[in-house]
């Protein structure tokens, strides 16, 4: 993984000192809250319902063990002993004191972590395929390009006051998109052209929020040496022409919709044609320098037959279930990509205690080549585990509450923090996730792959638009109701869910999801996942079941 050099470290320490002075000026009254707000936001510090929340960037979701231990340290020393991993693969702490934030950032800087641009109207954390470097289906490791983008987008002088936030995702496996590329302001798929050269397909204008839109391709193939100049062209068009009069219409997706993708492409290409490309060109040497940081670990292929592993699978059903759901094939035979679930039944999705963080750091050192990844689905990946270590690894997960075998299943729910923490929320998300998880756990193997995503407001941090079942919290005269969408997907078959009908009251959500799942179970044909069935039979049967007359004691849905 990427290791800072003297330039990176010097920059980060200067940045911490700069922020420390900004906090000092705020506490001394030299800066008004209005003036300080964008400064703290550029360091990921939000004022929430009960306290400050600090959002720490985990660039493209890659963490080293000592970095994970530092997050544990922050959780213990400055917070209440736990953190929360988000859909942008960041780590949030919810009970932070403003005057301690410079010290937190100084602590983080000792392990090359920061909170730069985890908020504000600028580039946010660039995300990537959590299986990068381990998946057999990738063209090449996308992370060197993510790191190049991270550096270029850090305190960019021209693009730090954009109309709105800006998110970039990179994947090298378009046929198995694990980075939700199409719901980003810019999405990049690594691909080969006819000559076999590697470059990028460039997509623009995706996003969720109150106007969900899937990104469209503006360029089929961009040679990789021109990555930064092309990004600059897109950003310059957006910075000049993106709307600034209405917060909800200021993302680049609205500009793309307004112009149409053809005119957007013309504008970007015209700007790009005029840019001095040499100034930002990535030479082969430069790309090689970055790629060296992400050299694949030296994993020896292991024979497929492994008597001890087979015996463990046969003797322990729980272990076999975990292997089935939480491990995936590694590109090196005999190794596995392991996902540790942060979705224990009936608990808040994405939360992680300091003790769990420390354990994950140990496990990464013992079994995964010192590498940890975070996923946009709020789980943790150990990307390089030898199959013969799986039993020993699994045995250490159970006591720490990390052995939940539910990856991709109905209890592997994404949820935003919602009204329990967030000042923007309309309704709570976490209790809904907890109730559904508890209720559905016993049947999850039978239900199979079904992604439920819950947002507590229209801003869609819980990605509800791209849930197979999406749940959106809305406020109706002070009461929490939930609007349900069906058929969304964030994967290679990306789609936006459709609203099925009137929102349901909080107490009815579990019952409503039950009814939807019953339709699927009764209608599915062999091998069909929930979305397959939904796409085949359409919304009508689901709608009929959900809104069928019910016993008088049950409350009616809101119209």
């Amino acid at each position: 993984m990427y290791r800072y050099d003297a330039f990176d470290q010097r920059f980060l320490e200067e940045r911490v000192a700069q922020y420390r002075d900004q906090v000092r000026r705020r506490l001394a009254g030299q800066l008004s809250e209005e003036e300080f707000k964008p400064l703290r936001l550029m360091n990921g510090l939000y004022l929430q319902l009960h306290a400050y929340m600090l959002r720490i960037a985990i660039p493209y979701g890659t963490l080293a063990p000592e970095q994970m231990r530092m997050l544990a340290h922050v959780a213990r020393r400055y917070d209440k002993g736990w953190g929360h991993f988000t859909t942008r693969t960041n780590c949030q702490f919810n009970w932070i004191k403003l005057e301690e934030t410079p010290d937190i950032l100084a602590d983080l800087a000792t392990v090359q972590l920061h909170a730069i641009q985890t908020s504000g109207n600028s580039f946010r954390n660039t995300t990537a395929d959590p299986w990068a470097g381990a998946a057999a289906d990738e063209i090449e490791d996308p992370r060197p390009y993510c790191e190049i983008i991270r550096q270029w987008s850090t305190l960019h002088p021209e693009f730090s006051f954009l109309p709105r936030k800006f998110k970039i995702a990179v994947s090298a496996a378009k046929e198995a998109d694990r980075a939700a590329v199409k719901v980003h302001d810019i999405g990049l798929y690594l691909r080969r052209d006819e000559a076999g050269d590697v470059g990028f397909e460039v997509l623009v204008g995706g996003g969720l929020g109150r106007t969900p839109i899937l990104a469209e391709t503006v360029r089929d193939f961009l040679p990789k040496r021109h990555l930064l100049s092309y990004l600059e062209a897109i950003l310059r068009v957006y910075n000049q022409h993106g709307r600034r009069d209405n917060l909800y219409k200021s993302r680049i997706k609205i500009l793309v919709q307004h112009l149409g993708v053809a005119r957007m492409r013309e504008a970007v290409e015209a700007e790009w044609a005029a840019i001095d490309k040499a100034a930002l060109a990535l030479t082969d040497d430069t790309i090689a320098d970055f790629a060296r940081h992400f050299a694949p670990p030296d994993l020896a292929p292991v024979p497929e037959a492994d008597a001890a592993f087979a015996a463990a699978l046969a003797s322990d059903k729980q272990f076999a279930r975990w292997v089935e759901h939480n491990t995936a094939r590694h590109k090196v035979p005999g190794h596995a990509i392991v996902t540790l679930s942060l979705k224990p039944y009936g608990r808040p999705p994405g939360d992680c205690t300091a003790e769990q963080m420390d354990l994950v750091a140990d496990l990464a050192e013992d079994y995964s080549q010192c590498e940890i990844r975070l996923t946009h689905e709020q789980n943790i990946v150990l990307p390089h585990v030898c199959r013969s270590d799986l039993w020993a690894l699994w045995c250490r997960l159970g006591p720490a509450g990390l052995a939940t075998a539910n990856i991709g299943l109905v209890t592997d729910i994404i949820a935003c923090p919602g009204l329990d923490y967030c000042s923007l929320a309309s309704a709570r998300s976490i209790p809904i996730a907890e109730r559904l998880s508890r209720h559905l756990a016993a049947r999850e193997d039978d239900i199979g792959e079904l992604k439920i995503k819950i947002s507590g407001c229209i801003n869609a941090c819980g990605h509800h638009h791209v849930g197979h079942i999406g749940i959106l919290g809305v406020d109706k005269n002070g009461e929490e109701f939930y609007q349900i969408t069906l058929g969304g997907s964030a994967d290679q078959d990306a789609a936006l869910g459709s609203i099925i009908g009137p929102a349901v009251p909080s107490a009815e959500v579990t019952n409503a999801i039950d009814r939807l799942i019953e339709v699927y179970l009764s209608q599915r044909v062999a091998g069909e996942r929930f979305n397959d069935t939904y796409r085949r039979i359409g919304a009508a049967p689901f709608k009929a079941a959900l809104y069928a007359p019910r016993p008088a004691r049950e409350p009616a849905y809101a119209a």
């Binding site: 050099d5 330039f7 990176d8 010097r10 920059f11 200067e14 940045r15 000192a17 700069q18 002075d21 900004q22 000026r25 030299q30 003036e35 964008p38 400064l39 109207n121 550096q151 270029w152 987008s153 850090t154 305190l155 960019h156 002088p157 021209e158 693009f159 730090s160 006051f161 954009l162 310059r236 910075n239 000049q240 600034r244 005029a274 001095d276 100034a279 930002l280 990535l282 030479t283 040497d285 430069t286 320098d289």
Partner: protein, 163 residues
């Protein structure tokens, strides 16, 4: 008050309203609207001329005329409105403008370095800038990850030079 060349100084330019007569021998700035209306008359003057460019005008429309101005004033109606950063880069990098480039409007201490990197060399600031020593803001960072119009070295190229 202005911040220029590492010091605070008074503004020697007069900023003409659109209905004020244009003096023959005084350094004045005019609005972009006036420039487009009275271009012929304004170019006949001998005294230095400045232009106030709103942030929704693409600077490329100025073309070669850009070299007629001794100062171009770009506007930050709110400090969160960052359009003038792109205007500045286009004026410097694309049109080769070498006159003074001034940031006006809601100019705050913590944006000064961004502005300098985009090509601004003059900043309209309030009295508080002296008491709060805004000059120090330019020295808070000296590691940059992008090429800028201030021609400071940037990391991607510095690394290869070291290697």
């Amino acid at each position: 008050m202005l911040l220029e060349a590492g010091a605070f100084c008074a503004d020697r330019w007069r900023h003409l309203g659109d209905d004020e007569a244009v003096p023959e021998d005084e350094t004045v700035t005019v609005s972009y609207a006036r420039w487009t209306r009275e271009r012929a008359a304004l170019t006949r003057r001998n005294a230095p001329l400045g232009l106030r460019l709103p942030n929704d005008v693409a600077p490329l429309v100025l073309g070669e005329d850009v070299h007629r101005f001794a100062v171009i004033v770009l506007d930050f109606p709110r400090f969160t409105d960052g359009r003038a950063y792109s205007q500045a880069r286009l004026l410097r990098g694309r049109l080769g403008y070498r006159g003074s480039l001034r940031a006006a409007g809601n100019v705050l201490r913590d944006q000064l370095l961004f502005m300098r990197r985009c090509g601004f060399d003059s900043f309209e600031v309030g009295e508080r800038a002296v008491a709060e020593n805004w000059l120090a803001a330019f020295d808070e960072l000296d590691v940059f990850f992008q090429p800028g119009e201030d021609r400071m070295p940037w990391v991607l190229r510095q690394r290869r030079a070291v290697a």
